[in-house]
Symmetry: C2
Subunit: 220 residues, 2 copies
Amino acid sequence: MSINRRLAATTARLLPGQKQSGGSGRVLEAALKLFAERGYAATSVRDVAAAAGVKPATIYAHYPSKEHILAELCRVGHEEQYRSVRTAVLASGGAPRDQIVAYVRAHVGFHTTYPMLAVVSNSELHVLGDELGAATFVLRRQSEELMQDIVKRGIDGGAFQVADPWLAVAAIGGMGLRVAYWFSPAYKLSAKQVADGYAEFALRLLAAGSDGKAGKGGSR
Amino acid sequence: MSINRRLAATTARLLPGQKQSGGSGRVLEAALKLFAERGYAATSVRDVAAAAGVKPATIYAHYPSKEHILAELCRVGHEEQYRSVRTAVLASGGAPRDQIVAYVRAHVGFHTTYPMLAVVSNSELHVLGDELGAATFVLRRQSEELMQDIVKRGIDGGAFQVADPWLAVAAIGGMGLRVAYWFSPAYKLSAKQVADGYAEFALRLLAAGSDGKAGKGGSR
DNA sequence: ACTTGCCTAACTAACGTTCGTTCGGTTAGC
DNA sequence: GCTAACCGAACGAACGTTAGTTAGGCAAGT
């Protein structure tokens, strides 16, 4: 195996509901694995077909084009990600601190549970044209706005101290994104431990320490 | 323009020293822009040639293969990244807090100054085989170890409180990586402001707040 | 009971295009 | 007249996709 793999995970995991028995499910799962490992552009329709145990032409009985397969994967991935964080936040109390913890735990949990879906959804999304990507873009924006609203409420209520809410959201979101690339079940920490650790990181990042330094950023 | 771009930057910037006058420099710069925007696999040699104002065959007068162009970009990118953080850390004082601030400022600075180089170096590196990628992998590991050593020293000296140094390094590194994708000179915050903000985030992340909660992570 | 017709899902074969790359020749400056 | 840079043309392979075909299951008509 090459020193450098795109992600540590080795088994493609689709959402339970998506594991439809038929050929369409097997194609989707094969595409997920290959797109995650090699990238969309570096994967041929013939590769996907071979991995799904099917001939290339059969792919087109299930999806109108290669790009539609990617669009479906991106949509499913972002849908689950948004559903997951939204549910977690709603189930937590009303306090911004609790909500951020819930959000980050769910966010990281998604990236450890479905690393391939996360990698494809995030690093191949740019391939999709405006039309095929539209559904995914909406979900992406909703997820971001959800965290942003929590952070803003926390600032207004005095629980958080950050100069620029957007920058904090970018930082917290960015660190969570990368988890999908290195996490594997063989890692020394469990998925729960990583999620809890990152939730604590997010809390610390948002709330100034005892020295009260508030991270205003430098001058231009 | 499509809603979804892979990165916000629009002008390819190679290191000053790399802007060698000749055709080889123009090819490298054209490849950098296209690889960053569309990805390595989605960019053809003909695309690079056209962007460099040259015919496809001429590419092979400068580089033995398409993959060698990518290898050169990855090497240059990681070299500058490592050089940058290393210089900054050495110029800072001996205190882990100062060193982390210097590291993160330089790290983020690299991602705002050379966003295309950062994007290509980090998200196309997996394409390179063991041989062509070897030089880059070494630099990557050195950068990570540098931050890791600072964090460990900070923990030993009592300046930082984190349960798992590696996890903190992954989190700080991950949030910095993403900057290259969204930053542009048109952003409301300057590069310096973003770098300072992230440095403050890193400090907060590493040092527990006044409540003393230490972020040990959950149990398995 | 048995043919007929249709549907689904898979197949074989091939379309035209584009890919990375090579080779032999042509130009331009010293 | 030499060297370095560049180009036109082409190679075989692989690309996404399409057309037409085959096999099996199942319900309706006789």
